[in-house]
């Protein structure tokens, strides 16, 4: 399956590439082998009755590829189709990928996540699907195969997929990427514009964007919006397995409990960053990835 050729450019925006192009450019050239191709037309059984067009691949491409010579299993969600929402088929493709990883033991599973979570048009089927993805991912992680999530699309990684991402070993984000639970519109619709002004883009990105997540430690690497930067980060993550154990979860619990204390009554990210010892907190929104990375190593070394 070929893709629309992209003009050669030293720096290719990850956010602006469709999912299939991200796969083609990020992994070793011409090594992606897709499972369940669009030509097989494994599509949503639920959308047509709602008058919504389906996509030949139900919004996710899965398969295997090489990353720096290592065999990895890959999934890339297409954020432009149904907001990357997980429906019955989409979810089953992801579950199949994880189950196959348990059987075939690749070096890693790499998930290019861009999703609003459960595909509302498939409601109940989507909710159960996301849950099945979560359990299958944790099986792979428990088997010692690292799961690496790359988040850099304009639609971010929300809802059930925002939880799934945090079940993985390793997350790479760009500042364009967002990682959260509820979208800003839902919060505003629920509790008003004072609670969350969804049109205030700076606020939205301070609260849920890659730089904030990186400073908090909710993602492991922060990169520029550049496919090659994501590639390098994914390669570096291959070695970074983090198996779960009671010890690991106790440490995680302590970290989150401390965050609850540190973050008490903070209204805005800048205040939270100051509380956790980030210097120059007020200037973070204007900084690039390199500058923000330097802030976290400084913050970590003073603890």
């Amino acid at each position: 399956m070929t893709h629309h050729p992209h003009p050669l450019n030293p720096r290719v925006s990850f956010a602006e590439c469709p999912a299939r192009e991200r796969i083609a450019l990020l992994f070793d050239e011409d090594t992606f082998k897709e499972w369940i191709t669009p030509a097989q037309r494994v599509m949503s059984p639920h959308l047509a009755q709602l008058g919504v067009p389906s996509s030949f691949d139900d919004g996710v491409a899965i398969g295997e590829a090489r990353l720096d010579g290592h065999t990895v299993f890959v999934a890339a969600q297409e954020g432009e189709f149904m907001g990357g929402g997980v429906g019955e088929v989409h979810g089953a493709k992801l579950v199949g990928l994880f189950k196959r990883a348990l059987r075939d033991r690749p070096a890693a599973v790499v998930l290019l996540a861009e999703s609003g979570g459960v595909r509302l048009h498939e409601a109940n089927a989507g909710l159960i699907a996301v849950s099945e993805v979560m359990r299958a991912l944790l099986d792979v992680r428990a088997a010692g195969i690292p799961v690496i999530v790359l988040i850099g699309g304009a639609n971010g990684c929300f809802g059930g997929m925002g939880i799934v991402a945090r079940c993985a070993d390793h997350i790479v984000m760009s500042d364009i990427g967002r990682l959260a639970m509820s979208g800003p519109e839902v919060i505003e619709a629920s509790h008003g514009v004072e609670e969350f002004d969804s049109r205030d883009r700076a606020l939205v990105w301070r609260t849920t964007g890659g730089k904030h997540r990186y400073l908090l430690g909710d993602c492991d690497q922060l990169v520029d919006d550049d496919v090659q930067a994501f590639r390098a980060a994914a390669i570096a993550a291959l070695a970074k397995r983090r198996p779960l154990s009671a010890d690991v979860l106790e440490k995680e619990h302590a970290l989150l409990a401390q965050r609850l204390v540190d973050g008490r009554e903070t209204r805005d990210a800048v205040e939270l960053w100051q509380r956790i010892g980030v210097t120059q907190a007020a200037r973070v929104p204007d900084m690039n990835a390199t500058q923000v990375r330097a802030l976290r190593s400084r913050e970590e070394s003073t603890q």
Binding site: G117, E122, M181, E195, F196, S245, T266
Partner: protein, 232 residues
């Protein structure tokens, strides 16, 4: 049925479960064995703190009571929809709760979920849906999102969605649909003790929901797609 009624039917007086605002926790004795009970009430919105409180109970059970079964009592309106929770990383707190339950399962603790009132997506994904198996009382409801919000996001009208939730298993909130789709293993009615006994004894530890959805006719495609990926 209130959480208190549920526990009385299950354990009689043999439990010390208390409610602290929306949070439920305690220990029960069932068939001579102690059992951890943890969950929520009052259709609780699950925020960062409440996710953590539940996780703590699960971790304590794993640390102090090897092999003890855990019963998750579910009554939630979904995730807390607040800026502060998003700022702190509610998705991380929820993932943590899910991972704690998953660890307990892998360590041999039976984990059974029971939706006794309502469950909405975010509050349910990392509790009932990550247990060994999830059960529900017949009058319970499970939803992804309330219709007005769903209408706003999907641009489908409220009238249309309301009609769909009466006729389409994909949209209907009744737990019978979730049983048919494989998401809920069974409904508990009548002799709840027998239901719990059976659940503890027979709930599989692998995820059989896609197969159940296929066999029961509610989710016809998922299991086949998984097989197709394995065979590709």
């Amino acid at each position: 049925m209130t959480w208190s009624d549920v526990l009385t039917q299950l354990f009689g007086g043999a439990h010390d479960v208390r409610a602290d605002a929306d949070f439920l926790s305690g220990t029960a004795t069932f068939d001579g064995q102690p059992l951890t009970v943890v969950g929520t009430t009052h259709h609780a919105p699950i925020g960062f703190a409440l996710a953590l409180r539940q996780a703590r109970v699960v971790l304590d059970t794993v640390a102090q009571h090897p092999g003890r079964a855990i019963l998750l009592l579910i009554d939630t309106q979904g995730q807390q929809l607040r800026r502060h929770d998003e700022l702190l990383g509610i998705n991380r707190a929820m993932a943590h709760l899910g991972c704690c339950i998953d660890l307990a399962r892998r360590r041999g603790h039976r984990v059974i979920g029971l939706v006794y009132d309502q469950a909405l997506s975010g509050g349910f994904i990392t509790s009932g849906l990550i247990a060994d198996g999830c059960y529900a009382l017949p009058e319970a409801e499970i939803r992804v999102m309330r219709i007005p919000a769903m209408a706003r996001v999907t641009k489908l009208s409220e009238e249309f969605l309301t009609a769909l939730s009466k006729t389409s298993p994909v949209f209907a909130p009744g737990v019978q649909n979730y049983v048919r789709m494989g998401g809920v293993r069974d409904l508990w009615s009548g002799d709840l003790q027998a239901c719990l006994r059976d659940a503890l004894a027979t709930t599989p530890t692998e995820d059989v929901r896609a197969a159940d959805g296929y066999l029961r006719g509610g989710r016809k495609v998922a299991a086949a797609v998984v097989e197709q990926v394995l065979a590709a």
